[in-house]
Amino acid sequence: MSIETNEEFRPKIVAFCCNWCSYAGADLAGSSRLSYPADVKIIRVPCSCRVNPMFILRAFEKGADGVIMCGCHPGDCHYSTGNYYARRRMTLLFSMLDYIGVENGRTRVEWVSAAEGVKFSQTMNEFVEKIHSLGKNVRLEDLRCRS
């Protein structure tokens, strides 16, 4: 399942996962021994709605090459409606990033339930591959954070 990583570029991916579905989904992926690249760093949030647009930009600032947000499927939010608000926010934010010339595809939203270990691992593999093809994030990085 794992993708071929080239020596020069190992993308840094930040995944915001909601505590109730997606984080459990990631857990299931792990306990089911499904693999996804170690380049994905998961940050657990109480709900996808907790993800402030600034979190996404900060991640890029500090050197992320791609940012993905995962939450419960619409209708399944632990807090009933959090992910509906998150959906609107992310749609607008992604559209803005596209508007200022950040490559499409560096950001993604995926709904992953606690039972979808397979989907989680698939999604992450796909996303890492996508970021790999896009290359290093240079349009939203803070040069000071370059190592």
């Binding site: 050197g63 000071r144 954070c145 190592s147």
Partner: protein, 343 residues
């Protein structure tokens, strides 16, 4: 006195830029600011005032001071290198040159600011006389003659020719370096231009502003005046006036976490901001009125009291043009003028 035709300026810039950096008014996205010269830069020498003052050349809005790097268990500290390359700032106006002198008093007196001192040492200022001063100008009030700027080299743009006069050793050196491009110029033409400029300055609405009562040791009456309470009201507490000003010199020092270490940097601060001089116990100016008053008292009272009467306003008029609420130092000076009996 030398001169060079306007169409040869590009060659002059190329010549200067060959062995040093060159900063001059460049238009980007419709606004003219001092930026580094490049072959395809749109140079605008006829712009009277750049949006930002050229103080950036000596005191940049942000600059790194040192960098800490963490590598496993080792921490290394690397000081920021000082300016080593010579550079030329071309086209500064008389008021902006005076602005640099105001900064000199702050940064070159003990303890010397080494970053600033290095830039001053390596920088050559080519000043340009103001061909057509505008209504927001009031440099005359501070004894500045925009017709006859005092810098390393003074220049005048007259009828498509740039007249060039070196005034200091640095200026002579620069003149020597570009000598092949210069012809001999006629002093009389420059005198004529100076007279014309001075005649215009006389007509400007702010030229006869009175500074009476400012710059005096005995300032508590002014400090406690109820006038401030009225004046500050429309202030939005933005930093426009401070950031376009050629003499504002306050800065803040911050640490930036790079993920693999820390960069300590300094950046301009504005007394209009709520976190200005913020300390552990909080802030010693906790209302906008106090912050507003600080800016003008500093420029017109504290600074001159500490610097032999030299005001830290040079009358460039940028705040007059740029304040979102149309407040500015002139309105402050006038408000106290109307106070009559006030000290």
């Amino acid at each position: 006195m030398y001169k060079i035709a306007a169409e040869n300026l590009q060659a002059l810039f190329r010549k200067i830029a060959a062995d040093q950096d060159l900063y001059l008014p460049v238009k980007v996205s419709d606004q003219v600011n001092f930026r580094a010269w490049s072959q395809d830069a749109e140079v605008c020498l006829d712009t009277l005032k750049t949006v930002k003052s050229p103080k950036d050349a000596f005191f940049p809005q942000s600059e790194n001071l040192y960098t800490c790097k963490k590598d496993e268990k080792n921490i290394s500290i690397e000081p920021q290198a000082l300016q080593e390359k010579n550079f030329v700032v071309f086209g500064m106006k008389a008021c902006d040159v005076q602005g640099v002198k105001v900064l000199d008093n702050v940064f070159l007196s003990d303890p010397v600011d080494t970053f600033y001192a290095a830039r001053r040492e390596h920088g050559t200022i080519v000043a340009l006389a103001c061909h057509e001063p505008e209504e927001s100008c009031f440099c005359k009030v501070f004894g500045i003659d925009c017709a006859d700027p005092v810098a390393d080299v003074a220049t005048w743009m007259i009828d498509g020719e740039l007249y060039w006069k070196p005034l200091t050793e640095k200026g002579e050196a620069l003149t020597k370096a570009v000598a092949e491009l210069l012809d001999d110029g006629d002093e009389a033409k420059v005198e004529e231009e100076k007279t014309a400029i001075r005649a215009i300055v006389e007509k400007l609405p702010y030229s006869n502003l009175s500074l009476e009562g400012w710059g005096q040791e005995d300032y508590m009456d002014r400090f406690n005046s109820p006038v401030w309470e009225e004046l500050y009201k429309p202030c939005l507490a933005c930093g426009t006036c401070t950031f376009v000003c050629p003499t504002c010199q306050c800065y803040d020092i911050k640490d930036y976490d790079t993920g693999h270490g820390v960069q300590r940097y300094r950046c301009w601060d504005s007394c209009m901001y709520s976190d200005f001089t913020m300390m552990a116990h909080g802030n010693n100016r906790n209302s906008q009125m106090q912050r507003f008053r600080q800016r003008f008292m500093h420029k017109l009272v504290y600074y001159p009291v500490n610097n032999n009467g030299m005001f830290s306003c040079v009358g460039c008029g940028r705040c007059v043009e740029k304040c979102p609420s149309s407040l500015n130092i002139v309105k402050v000076i006038k408000a106290f003028e109307n106070q009559g009996g006030e000290k």
